[in-house]
């Protein structure tokens, strides 16, 4: 009996796995990823093209990622000209990938070149979005994403929608889920993530693009803590829940919100675009067909768009690309000739891009060595910086160790929740000091001064080097007159910060 149940369960599991990986569909979702991802990567590659010699070649200052891992000459550095050829071909292959022209070949070329050049520059090219993009390009190259909405499918002029196994889309979905799981592990290893310290300082950094919303958000650690906990919970459950129909759009919607919000708060642009484009891999054939039906309804409402549809402006381009003529009476030799013509056009364009790229880069003279006066002279260094070079090593000033001095009445995750500077008599409040690492063991006092500047309460404590926060609990006695008092944070020998506080009836 038990054996038969086990057998049935095994068969069910096998059937479920079979359905999960090998059911068939038209790969609209992957086609959308194929269209958008290369366009995003073009935004990465095109600005770097004119610096290819400097960033990726032995004629410049390549910064291989492998050096961080103590591995030498991985991958081998190309010469300057070869680096320019690689970048030029990469630009064209990304365009071809997006258009779906010799899709699988273009994607394979893009994958190899993009990964190669990323590995050569860990300072300004290789980031985690590069690694994710390489994975996505690999999966797209394995898939049949070029069978719809592509030049290839248009050239083949098939009347029936092609259907293929769904496993490449499943791999993409699992990749995204495992990325989030790995990212959650990182957060679990970082204690300061939960106390808002890590994120608060990320929001204040100027290493990325302008992030005005981040600077404002850094004043609301309670929101940061709440969002941090929601984010890690979301990352942990993503791979387990996203398959449920009821949860899919909720989970993905949260992901879109999370990634979009990193632009104004952290100054990130490419990373959210890569992640959101990868979400298109979650769209099933049914989802896309629903969108198409909705789009067609919208389309019919606009007369201008309908007219545009009737124009056949791309007929000559179709012939150039070697589109197969409609109908089943086309001979095999005609098909063969069309395919070869298209292939030659594709290969010629890639070859021309390499040649034109090398010529253009040569004329640009990236190091400006062929100017009238020869190579450029070095720029003199900033004299203010030079004047400070002989300064002895000094420890951090106490005032620079203080991030903030806040007053509130309750805490969340150890952080003050409700900041205020006005309290009634007999109402308790907390004064919280936030320090930045690294700092030594410190003796700090938080004193209360009356409106005339006389110290009426003194409270000190040792703040050990592991602590990033110190709290002082206050309760103003009812006999104290109302007025504006001052909280004074000081070390044994100097005042660091003062903050006014109003005591009311």
């Amino acid at each position: 009996m038990d054996a038969s149940i086990d057998h049935a369960e095994t068969r069910n599991l096998k059937a479920s796995l079979n359905d999960f990986f090998y059911s068939k569909e038209t790969p609209y979702g992957l086609a959308l990823v194929r269209i958008f991802l290369p366009l995003i990567l073009l935004c990465v590659i095109v600005p770097r093209w004119s610096f290819a010699r400097e960033l990726y070649s032995s004629d410049g200052a390549a910064a291989p990622l492998a050096l961080t891992y103590q591995v030498m000459n991985f991958p081998p550095e190309p010469s300057g000209t070869l680096a320019v050829i690689m970048m030029s071909v990469l630009v064209l292959s990304l365009i071809c990938s997006s258009a779906g022209w010799f899709t699988r070949t273009s994607l394979t070329v893009s994958l190899c070149l993009y990964t190669y050049i990323s590995l050569l520059d860990s300072l300004s090219t290789m980031t985690k979005y590069s690694a994710i993009s390489s994975h996505l390009l690999l999966i797209l190259a394995l898939s049949r994403c070029g069978s719809v909405w592509s030049v290839d499918s248009w050239r083949a002029a098939k009347k029936l929608r092609p259907r293929f196994h769904v496993w490449p889309r499943r791999l993409m979905q699992l990749l995204i889920g495992l990325i989030y799981l790995g990212a959650a592990m990182t957060k679990l290893h970082t204690g300061e993530y939960f106390s808002s310290d890590q994120l608060r300082h990320w929001l204040m950094t100027n290493l990325n693009h302008h992030n005005p919303a981040g600077e404002i958000l850094s004043f609301y650690p309670e929101i940061i803590i709440a969002m941090a906990n929601i984010a890690i919970l979301w990352q942990l459950i993503f791979v387990f829940v996203v398959w449920r129909p009821w949860a899919r759009f909720l989970i993905l919607g949260m992901g879109v919100f999370f990634h979009v919000s990193t632009t104004p708060t952290l100054g990130l642009y490419i990373f959210p675009c890569v992640m959101i484009s990868s979400y298109l891999g979650f769209l099933s054939e049914r989802d896309v067909r629903l969108c198409i039906v909705g789009g067609r309804k919208l389309f019919r409402r606009f007369e201008t768009l309908r007219r545009l549809r009737s124009l056949n402006v791309v007929r000559s381009f179709a012939e150039f690309l070697g589109r197969t003529q409609q109908g089943s009476d086309v001979s095999a030799s005609a098909k063969r000739a069309a395919w070869l013509g298209s292939f030659y056009a594709w290969a010629t364009i890639l070859f021309c891009s390499a040649v034109v790229g090398v010529a253009a880069e040569h004329s640009l003279d990236p190091y400006k060595q062929r100017g009238a006066d020869g190579p450029l002279p070095l720029r003199p260094a900033d004299p203010r910086l030079i004047a400070r070079l002989n300064e002895p090593f000094e420890t951090i000033a106490d005032i620079d160790l203080v991030l903030s001095l806040d007053v509130g009445s309750s805490t969340l995750g150890g952080v003050l929740l409700d900041l205020d500077d006005e309290y009634r008599r007999d109402e308790p409040f907390i004064v919280q000091l936030t320090l930045v690492p690294p700092h030594p063991d410190m003796w700090l006092e938080c004193n209360l001064l009356d409106p005339t500047g006389i110290t009426i309460h003194r409270a000190g404590q040792v703040v050990s080097r592991e602590q990033l926060r110190a709290n002082w609990n206050y309760q103003i006695p009812g006999t104290l007159p109302v007025g504006t008092y001052t909280l004074e944070l000081r070390t044994a020998d100097r005042v660091l910060v003062t903050r006014p506080i109003s005591i009311t009836e």
Binding site: F51, G182, D400
Partner: protein
């Protein structure tokens, strides 16, 4: 299967190259793979050298041209268990790929040999793993024989700002592993007096000074002037010889904070590094 007509065999190949490739592949594998059989079957002449799917069994077969004594329209067909082979190769791709991704998550979770090979960067998802309360900039300077100092990064031909509006790439090298290379590249591509030394200089300031004044005032109402700290991290000769390595400013500050303890300082000071020697030598 014998005498099967055109209508029952469906051509699977779409174009010349695919068909040719598969024909070549199957011809090659004829001697090695025993998963198919050969039969004679009628197929139209213009579909020769094509891949077919058998109308009844669904198995994939391939029609090859006969040698001279075959009847017209009769071809030698190879029946290949193509679908099964394809399925197993797909199983292998899925298993290997998911296995590698899972391995990345696991080694990261248990922190086991996370940095043993550069390719692990592609399977370990440690985004935003580090943080610092300090904003840092790196200056790469060359000291000429005249005593004049020059800026070696970015080069005078211009800089590339990857992730910000105006920050060149040397600011994204927290481990200072690629500074020397950038300096040497600038020296090779420019005209200059003989250079005596290359200096890698760190400039650091607390991130609270990044905030605009109206926001900084909310942190600490007492106004404070921005103070930055200058620290020479490395000194090289132009040929790359390391003259002095003083370490990162943050690491030195952390050590200074730890040693700001008379008892610990007293215990530490006499303990110089010792290299054990063999007494017998």
């Amino acid at each position: 299967m014998h005498g099967q007509r055109d209508g029952r065999a469906r051509c699977l190949s779409e174009g010349f190259p695919v068909s040719t490739f598969r024909v070549a592949l199957f011809r090659f594998s004829l001697d090695f793979v025993l998963t198919f059989s050969t039969r004679q079957q009628y197929v139209p002449r213009d579909l020769s050298d094509r891949v077919f799917q058998d109308g009844d069994s669904g198995r994939v077969m391939i029609a090859l041209r006969c040698s001279g004594d075959c009847a017209e329209g009769l071809f030698l067909c190879l029946y290949v268990r193509d679908d099964a082979m394809k399925r197993w190769s797909t199983h292998a791709i899925i298993a290997v790929y998911l296995g590698i991704l899972t391995m990345g998550v696991v080694v990261h979770a248990v922190q086991f040999r996370e940095h043993s090979h550069p390719l692990k960067y592609f399977v370990i998802w440690d985004m935003f793993c580090g943080w610092s309360a300090w904003e840092q900039r790196t200056h790469i300077l060359g000291e000429g024989e005249s005593g004049e100092f020059y800026e070696l990064a970015p080069g005078p031909w211009g800089s590339f700002s990857a992730y910000s509006e105006n920050l060149s790439r040397q600011h994204y090298d927290p481990f200072a592993e690629h500074m020397l290379r950038q300096a040497q590249n600038s020296l090779v591509r420019t005209s200059h007096e003989p250079i005596r030394r290359i200096l890698v200089v760190e400039e650091s300031w607390a991130k609270k000074y990044n905030l605009p004044a109206h926001l900084a005032g909310k942190l600490t109402p007492t106004p404070t002037d921005k103070q930055s700290y200058i620290h020479i991290r490395d000194i090289f000769l132009p040929d790359g010889t390391s003259v002095e390595h003083r370490g990162a400013w943050l690491a030195r500050q952390a050590q200074a904070a730890l040693l700001d303890n008379p008892r610990l300082e007293q215990l530490t000071m006499p303990r110089f590094p010792v290299v054990a020697m063999n007494r017998a030598e």
